[in-house]
């Protein structure tokens, strides 16, 4: 398990056995515990400098909680997080605000992610000021125009309000805001799923270009493997608070190891009628189990088409390097080992 994570002193971002649980408190009358939601339950991960790590999973798998835990918007229940050798999880709640500008997020819904009462200029200036507090009006205008040009918007529109832009343009503004504080890591949380197909590709191209030209490090969250495959260098597949597969984008998409990854791949509808008719789908039975009461042992056993033995229904499997740099949950029923 420990081999999956890098060296906290030298690697860019390292997570070790991070858990984020939400205690639902006690019932008002009976004083019985309402339970604990184990949204992130033991994630170890390394993000390399300059890479795009795709984080894939269905709703409720804990990918959003994990990203907010990395950003320190939610503090982890246990485990450690290091950014460039500094242990973020050890910083006190009072001082954590200072570190937040190192992480910026691009959100899913461009209609909710911009303050409707602030002009583009005000929104971006507020973000720039967190890094450069002393800029005068002219310098600020210069920086805002540069940012807008970078994301493909016309700087003469900086005095306009969000509602005067289309969804795709708003997402560009949100990307500009994420770039403004010169963050060390950008987390893009489903940045294209709310956009129309023809606009999606514009935004994906923009993100790819920014990554290439600026050397950004990014965690790209999506439920859509085909989109992630296109942007990410490596992909981590998450299920019920655990990472169950991790490897290069090509390896995970073309030679998935875990049966859940295979099911995810086969569920993506292909825009090709003949291929669609020819393929056999792995249709998973049932729904995602509740993170309030996750299965013990291998998290996937209740939905797995392959019957698990009693040991793996109780003892959680580790994480093993099946091929070089291609990791998967060490469960012989979910993952076929190479001969």
């Amino acid at each position: 398990m420990s081999a999956a994570i890098g060296d906290p002193a030298t690697d860019f971002l390292v997570l070790q056995d991070v858990r984020t649980h939400f205690d639902l408190g006690r019932d008002f009358l009976t004083r019985q515990s309402k339970g604990v939601v184990k949204a992130v339950d033991g994630v170890s991960l390394t993000v390399r400098k300059g890479e795009v790590l795709g984080l894939v999973g269905e709703s409720g798998c804990g990918k959003s909680t994990l990203s907010r835990t990395i950003m320190q918007l939610i503090r982890p229940t246990s485990g450690q997080i290091w950014l460039e050798g500094e242990e973020l999880s050890a910083i006190s709640d009072q001082d954590i605000r200072e570190t937040r500008k190192n992480f910026q997020m691009i959100f899913q819904d461009p209609y909710a992610s911009l303050n409707p009462r602030m002009t583009v200029m005000d929104t971006l200036a507020e973000a720039i000021r967190t890094r450069h507090p002393g800029l005068n009006a002219e310098e600020m205008r210069g920086r805002v125009s540069d940012l807008l040009r970078t994301v493909g918007l016309n700087p003469v529109q900086m005095k306009r309000y969000p509602h005067e832009f289309s969804g795709g343009q708003r997402q560009r503004i949100a990307i500009a805001r994420a770039l403004a504080p010169e963050p060390k890591l950008i987390i893009a949380d489903e940045p294209v799923s709310a956009l129309d197909v023809s606009i999606q590709s514009q935004i994906l191209n923009l993100l790819k270009r920014l990554v290439r030209e600026m050397g950004l490090t990014m965690i790209f969250i999506s439920h859509d493997l085909s989109v992630v495959r296109y942007v990410a260098d490596r992909i981590a597949v998450m299920y019920l608070g655990h990472i169950i597969e991790l490897g290069s984008a090509e390896a995970v998409v073309d030679k998935p190891l875990h049966i859940y990854t295979k099911a995810l791949m086969s569920a993506i509808p292909l825009p090709d009628p003949r291929a669609e008719k020819a393929r056999t789908r792995i249709i998973l039975p049932g729904d995602l189990p509740s993170p309030l009461n996750p299965p013990s042992g291998c998290v996937f056993w209740p939905r797995s088409p392959v019957e698990h033995d009693e040991r793996l229904k109780t003892v959680p499997p580790g994480f093993a390097e099946v091929y070089p740099d291609h990791w998967a949950a060490d469960c012989p029923f979910c993952v076929e080992k190479p001969a």
């Binding site: 500008k101 992480f103 997020m105 507020e126 205008r141 540069d146 060390k184």
Partner: protein, 303 residues
């Protein structure tokens, strides 16, 4: 990546402020919608006229509102006294103007007080949430449970009667509703991603509340405020009626209406003039409030 700025493309030419296209804010859009609403705009205009009449009027009038003239007692409207005189021979028009000053002052000041307390209190409770929110809102519930009249009587007994105390008393009651509305709005907004984006910039709570939350709940708050002004004026009239508010020889519309109704069978004008102005103001504010609601929230308006 720390020197990300250096990697941005150099601007071909600096943008000058003159080149910038001016956006239209949601406020200016709302104003444009309000301007199309004839009833609301007329009400606003009428309300300003009434205000001017009350504020400027007494300086232009040759009469002193408290100068009694027992020989000219209770005369109907005439060329000298357009609204007539009351039983003590005081010019009713000046008294209506001065009464209006007090009534409008009570309405506006008490509403402003309740606005200020309510917005800050509600936004803080809603934003911080958890136990702080629970505690703060239980306090609001406690004040809600207090019977208003007894509360005012207690205040009067403890501190003696004064106009300022009445502002405090009314403000203390009215801010509760405001706080609840603002809190509910803030709790809705807090889940919006732009607030999360502000948090992830490391902005202070104060800045997030002032820049990102309050401007976005102000729409419904303004509507409630316009509807609170008439409510407060009615409360003042009620308190004055009980003898807890403005006392003679000072006048408010509430006091004048009270005096008028005692004599309405003989000297009807004593009731008609103050009641007319009072009712007109209430109508104006209510129409204005409705118009503002439609203008600020175009989705709710029947288009």
């Amino acid at each position: 990546m720390a020197d990300l700025a250096s990697k941005l493309p150099l601007s071909p030419a600096p943008i000058t402020p003159e080149q910038l296209e001016q956006g239209s804010s949601l406020w200016s859009d709302a104003w444009a919608r309000l301007r199309k609403n004839k009833l609301a705009l007329g009400s606003l205009f009428m309300f300003i006229l009434i205000g001017l009449f009350c504020v400027v009027g007494p300086w232009l009038s040759p009469y002193d509102s408290q100068a009694q003239n027992l020989f000219a007692g209770a005369e109907g409207p005439s060329a000298d006294h357009w609204f007539g005189t009351d039983t003590l021979g005081r010019d009713l028009m000046v008294r209506v103007m001065e009464g209006g000053r007090i009534s409008l002052l009570v309405g506006l000041v008490a509403t402003s007080v309740s606005l200020l307390i309510g917005v800050v209190y509600g936004a803080t409770a809603g934003y911080i949430g958890g136990k702080v929110d629970a505690g703060m809102m239980r306090f609001v519930d406690l004040l809600y449970a207090l019977p208003f009249t007894i509360f005012v009587i207690l205040l009067m007994v403890a501190f003696g009667r004064s106009l300022w105390l009445m502002f405090v008393a009314i403000g203390c009651v009215e801010w509760l509703t405001m706080a609840r509305i603002v809190r509910a709005g803030v709790i809705d907004l807090k889940k919006q991603e732009f607030v999360e984006a502000a948090v992830s910039l490391g902005l202070s709570n104060r800045r997030i509340i002032l820049r990102h939350l309050i401007p976005n709940v102000l729409g419904p708050v303004i509507v409630i405020a316009t509807l609170t002004v008439p409510a407060v004026m009615l409360l003042e009239a009620f308190l004055s009626f009980l003898g807890l508010g403005v006392q003679p020889p000072n006048a408010s519309w509430g006091v004048l209406i009270n005096e008028g109704q005692q004599n309405m069978e003989i000297f009807a004008w004593l009731l008609i003039f103050p009641a007319f102005f009072f009712a007109l103001t209430l109508f104006c504010l209510n129409f204005l409030g409705d118009g503002l609601r439609d203008a600020l929230d175009p989705k709710s308006a029947g288009d």
